[in-house]
Each structure stands twice: as structure tokens, then as C-alpha cells.
């Protein structure tokens, strides 16, 4: 078998065993990712009934009608709007929190505990709490801040609440990754820089930050993935409202595919999202090679 010959210095038996151990995962991947993807890809060029019967060949018709769909186009705009606010804020806030608590001192355990706790809450529980906090003009948040916004009933504020929720959901994991990156940095480099006279901002921006850029780029791309694929928080918090202003691409997909049983939209969006993610992934891997 050719594939085994390519791996040097490993004997055949070990190879076979390795593949055997890989088999379950491979099988799952093929069964639940690759086969459905192939099915969606083929299906996106066909007209399929709700019950799954193929009714005819649609050519590019499904794609054309998708891009003529005003709700789909505005869901792209909504997702972009979310990403534009979420991504930089998320990066800045988690980086700032990790940077400020990166030196282990006596009481850092307290801040670490506080920053890591959001991880212990489930997404839907947090979303429901947010929904209550921001509900109506007599909301808790309005009482606390003295504002009188109808947060979830106005397009701008509703998006803001969604962004805040997103930040809250991603904060803990990103914080842990960045913090451990800061703490895992080789101390000798920092000490060497200090001996050379670097300190304060210079030390941070020229030595410490570059040494964690690998992890930082991972958190940025994870946040990007979360932003592009966001749907569950939307489902619980706003249901796409008010007036479909927080309806993201994946929530639109959920509505059309699962609520309405629209196979044309289901397959076309699935294919488009895979293509889009692949482009993103290839960008990441190119970047990673540079590092």
C-alpha cells in the first residue's frame, strides 16, 4: 500500500495500528461531514421537495434566487455588522485583561477567577439572563445606567446587546489562552531585554506581545469563526428581531432549513459557508506558516 511507504522510519504494523485507531474518527468525519457536504453540493443544483424527493435539475437557479432574497442579503449585512464590532472589541478587551493580569502576584488569583467564571455558564443561560436584563424600557440595565433605551426593540441597541453577549461568551476562553501564552513566554528573553534597557511599554509591545502573536492570532481567528457562524445567541436573545435586524446568516439558514424546510436555501447556504470557511482557513494556514 502506497500510503504506508510514504511514512519513513515507521514499520508497517505500527502504521496499520495507527490507522485503525484513526478509523473511528475518520469514519465519523466521512459519515457526518464529507458525505453530507457532497450531498448538499449536489443538492444545491437540484430542486428538492420538503420530504427529500428530487423534482428536477435547477442549475444555478437556487443560487440566483438566494442572492435575490432580500432577507438573505440583509442577513449578510447583519453578520458583517456584528463582526466589525465584535472582532476588534473582543481582541482588545481580552488582550487588555490578560496583559494587565499577566504577572503572577499575590491577589491575581482573584481576578483570574472572576475572568474565568463566564466559562462555567452555558450559552443559553447567559443569553436568557441578558434577555431579562435588557427587557423593555423598565429593564434592570436602564435602572442601573439611567438610560431609557428599549434595548431589544431598537435595531442599533439590539445589535449592541448581541455584541456584548458575544464578548461575554468568548471572553473566558480567550483570556485563558492569552494569559497562559503570556506566562509561558521564555523568561530569559524578557530578562535579556531588560538587561538591554527595555522596560514598560517598549518591553511589552516589542518583546512580550510579539512572543505571543501565535496564540493571539489563534484567538482572533476563533473569534472570527464565532462571529461568522453566530446563531445560537441570536436564537435565544432576539430571535433575529427587532424587524429582522439581528438575523445573521446562520440564523437565516436555521429558519429556512429547519423551520420552513426550504431545501434550496439549505443546500446553497451550506455550500457557500463551507467555501467561505475554506477561504478563511487557507488564509489562516498561510499566516501560520509565516510565523
Amino acid at each position: 500500500m502506497n500510503i504506508f511507504r510514504k511514512l519513513p522510519n515507521v514499520n508497517k504494523e505500527k502504521n496499520i495500528r495507527a490507522y485503525l485507531f484513526l478509523l473511528p474518527a475518520l469514519l465519523l468525519a466521512v459519515l457526518f461531514s464529507f458525505i453530507p457536504l457532497a450531498k448538499s453540493f449536489i443538492g444545491s443544483f437540484l430542486t428538492i421537495s420538503q420530504s427529500g424527493k428530487v423534482l428536477g435539475f435547477a442549475g444555478l437557479g437556487n443560487y440566483i434566487s438566494l442572492f435575490k432574497n432580500q432577507a438573505f442579503l440583509s442577513s449578510i449585512a447583519n453578520t458583517a455588522r456584528f463582526t466589525v464590532f465584535f472582532l476588534p472589541l473582543n481582541t482588545l478587551i481580552t488582550l487588555a485583561a490578560a496583559a494587565l493580569t499577566r504577572k503572577k502576584r499575590r491577589y491575581t488569583a482573584i481576578s483570574e477567577f472572576i475572568f474565568m467564571t463566564p466559562m462555567a455558564f452555558s450559552l443559553s443561560a447567559l443569553a436568557l439572563i441578558f434577555k431579562e436584563l435588557f427587557r423593555g424600557r423598565v429593564s434592570v440595565i436602564n435602572r442601573l445606567t439611567g438610560l431609557s433605551l428599549e434595548w431589544l426593540d431598537q435595531s442599533g441597541p439590539a445589535m449592541a446587546v448581541l455584541v456584548i453577549l458575544g464578548l461575554f461568551l468568548d471572553f473566558a476562553l480567550d483570556y485563558i489562552l492569552l494569559l497562559s501564552a503570556f506566562r509561558g513566554t521564555d523568561k530569559s528573553i524578557i530578562e535579556a531585554a531588560e538587561i538591554d534597557g527595555a522596560s514598560g511599554g517598549k518591553l511589552f509591545f516589542l518583546i512580550e506581545l510579539p512572543s505571543i502573536k501565535n496564540i493571539l492570532s489563534i484567538t482572533i481567528f476563533m473569534a472570527l469563526k464565532d462571529a461568522v457562524l453566530i446563531s445560537a445567541p441570536v436564537m435565544v436573545l432576539t430571535e433575529g428581531g427587532p424587524f429582522r435586524s439581528t438575523e445573521t446568516v446562520m440564523y437565516f439558514y436555521y429558519l429556512e432549513a429547519f423551520r420552513s424546510g426550504n431545501r434550496a436555501v439549505e443546500n446553497t447556504i451550506a455550500v457557500l459557508m463551507v467555501v467561505f470557511s475554506s477561504i478563511l482557513m487557507s488564509l489562516i494556514s498561510r499566516r501560520r506558516r509565516d510565523v
Binding site: P24, S51, G136, L152, D153, G241, P242, S260, N262
Partner: protein, 432 residues
Amino acid sequence: MKKLFSIMVMLILMFPILAGGNSEDESIVTIWHSNSGSIGTAFDEIVDNFNETVGKEKGIEIEAIYQGAANDVLTKVKAAAAANVSSLPDIAQLDATAALDMMNSDYLVLPETLGVDTSLVMESAIESLMSERGLLAVPFNASSLLFYYNKTLFDSLGLSAPETIDDFAAIAPLLGEKAADGTITRYAFAGVPTTYELGAFIGAQNGLSYFVNNENGHTGTPTKVLFEEEGTFAEFLVHWKNLYDTGYVSNITSGISTEFAAGRTATMLASSSNLSTVLNTVGDRFEVGTAFVPKTNDEATGGVNIGGGAMFAFTDNENVRTVLEYLISEGVQLEWAEKTGYMPVNTGLSDNDEYLAFLDSNPQFKVAMEQTEVSNPKLTGVWLPSAYQIYYSFQTEIRNVTEGGKPIDKAVHDMAAIVQQALDDYAEQNII
């Protein structure tokens, strides 16, 4: 030995893929339902009661599984049906948004096939589920749109509930309240009407009007939008804009009953099934009044349609029939109505002393029944594909007209185009 071990590990890991599928046991009747909170408790009691009495006698056990809101139940039913018809429950409680999909499905078992006796079920509830295939499901939790108002406030102003939208516009400035700096502290009305409310606002016009052809989809899958050429949506928008222009209508789409309970809006439109919850939330802050939904104009005499939910069956056996007949029996419907505020679907209750006494001591509940009695039974909820998306589109167009100053003709035209597109897509994907 090691090889054997790895094979075993592999098999164990694969097991979850191969396992699955449920055993068929006719003595257990599974119901997927959407009743939560106090309504859920009431439903569980009904189920427990069955299992201890009728069920025990006949060897039937109801297994009730809460599956989220009505549209979540529908999503799951459709997913189950797409995967494998045997994974469907025996019965699912669904609402009108499910009707079109159910009508065109091959796995639905009609009450007629089961032989369920529905002779005592009220006419408008039957009509609400009547399709070209016959009665689709057994009505269980019937409700209708209701006008809720702050009775304490109305009484203090010497006002009574408005009969038409124009009447409402005339009193709206009295109901509203402004602070010294011009911010509105109390609205006359909060909410943006959508498919459900328009069921009355459009449906009641000229005695009886439909959104789409085939009697709102009840005599066949709808293919054509009617509310544009018949001018019914435009007529509604003219009057509604008039009301909005008083400045005391708040275009919010969530948390409306919270605003109502907080006294920040004098009135709202909501399902009669919310009555118990609203009364509990308001408590003794003020007296809650209920009234007929204001008419779009003087000729809008059709009334309101029956909404709520019904029990759709997917298994054809004697036990399912027994359970369905139990659920619509007089005793169960009485208990259900008293605990939840749903309208009982069993007409046998119209001369039941216990029920009449209940209505007398709870006049707010009585209004819903009276409104239904004077409504045209042919006035039925609209069955549309992509119901959820259309729901939001209606709200968007109404807001465009009221807030954005969009010309009514254009809003109606755009809305009709959206619905027509949904109908065309559905027709293309489902050869009918």
C-alpha cells in the same frame, strides 16, 4: 492481543453510530407538547390523571414530552419525519403554522381515519383545522386574539373599550401620558400587528376576507395573494397609520405584556391564552379588562379566528384514538380551561354549571368565548409556507409605513410580493 484490543476500542466507538431507533410499544402513547409554566403543570396533571384512571383500565400509558414552543415542536416533528417516520411521536401538539406542512405530509393520520368522535367540538375550532383532506387534527387548546386594557385607567377617564381603530385613535391622546420634557411615559397601545393580529384586522373586513386564495389555504395549498387586490391590507394600514399618528403607539415587538403590566401602555393585543399569566403579572396594580378586538372599519364584522393548538396524530391505532377522545372530553376541557384560560373546545360545557359559575366569577375569560360566538366560523387562520419569515415581514412593512412614511400602496405591494414569492417557492418545491 493488542490488535484485538484496538478492534474492540473501534467497535465501542462505533456503537453510538449503529445504535438508535426506538422500539414500538402500542401501550405507550407518546405526546410531544409545547405547554410550559403553569400551563405545563396543568397538562401534566391531565396526563397523570389519565394514566391513573382510564389508562390503567385499558392498559395505556401517556408519555408526555415537552419539546419547546409550538414552532420548536414543529421543527422537531419535521426533522423526525425527514430522518425516519418511526421516530415520530404518536401525537404532537402543534399550532396553525404547522397546518400547511401537515396537510401536505404523507405521515399525518387524520382524526377521521382514527375514528375520533369530534361531534361535540365547537364549529369554529373544527373550521380552523379543516383542509382539503378533511379535519387535520383534534383541536385541544383553543384561543383567540383579545384586546387587553387597563380598566382602572379607562374607568377613571370614563372611557369604554374602543369598537373600531378610528374610535381608538380618538381616545388614544387621552390614554397616553407625557412627562414635562416631552417623553412619553404611557402609550395608548404597544406592539406591531403581524400575521396573528391581521387575521382579525384583515380577515374580519367585509364580513369575511382572506389573505390568500383557497380560503386561506384551507381548501388547497394557496397559490395567490389576495390582500393586495382586495385592498384589505391597505384599508387596515390607513386606519392603523391614523392611530399611530396620534403619537401614542409604541412600535415594540417584545416584552409587550411586561410594559402592559408596568402600566406603560394602556392596552395591548394578545392571545386569550395569555390571560392567566397577564392577570398574575399585573396582580393588584390595576384591574385588567378584556374586550373584543377593535374593528378595522364599520364593515369589518367577521370577528376573530380560532388559534391555539391541536393534537396531530402520526400513529393509527385504537390507543391513540382513546387518548385523543380523552383530551377533548368535557371533564378534561373544563379542568384545562379553568387552569389555563384556553377556551374549552367541547360544546357540552356551554350548559355546564361549574363552567358557567367559573365564567361568572372570571368575567375576563367570558369575553373570549363571547367574541368567538359572534365571529364568523369561516374566518380561519391563514396557512402559509415560511410563516415565520412572513410574520416578520408584516411587522417590518407596518413599521415602514408608520415610522418611515413609506407610501401605503408600496408597502402593500412589497408585502404581497414577499408572500407571493414564498407561495411560488413552496409550489416549486412541492408538486401539489
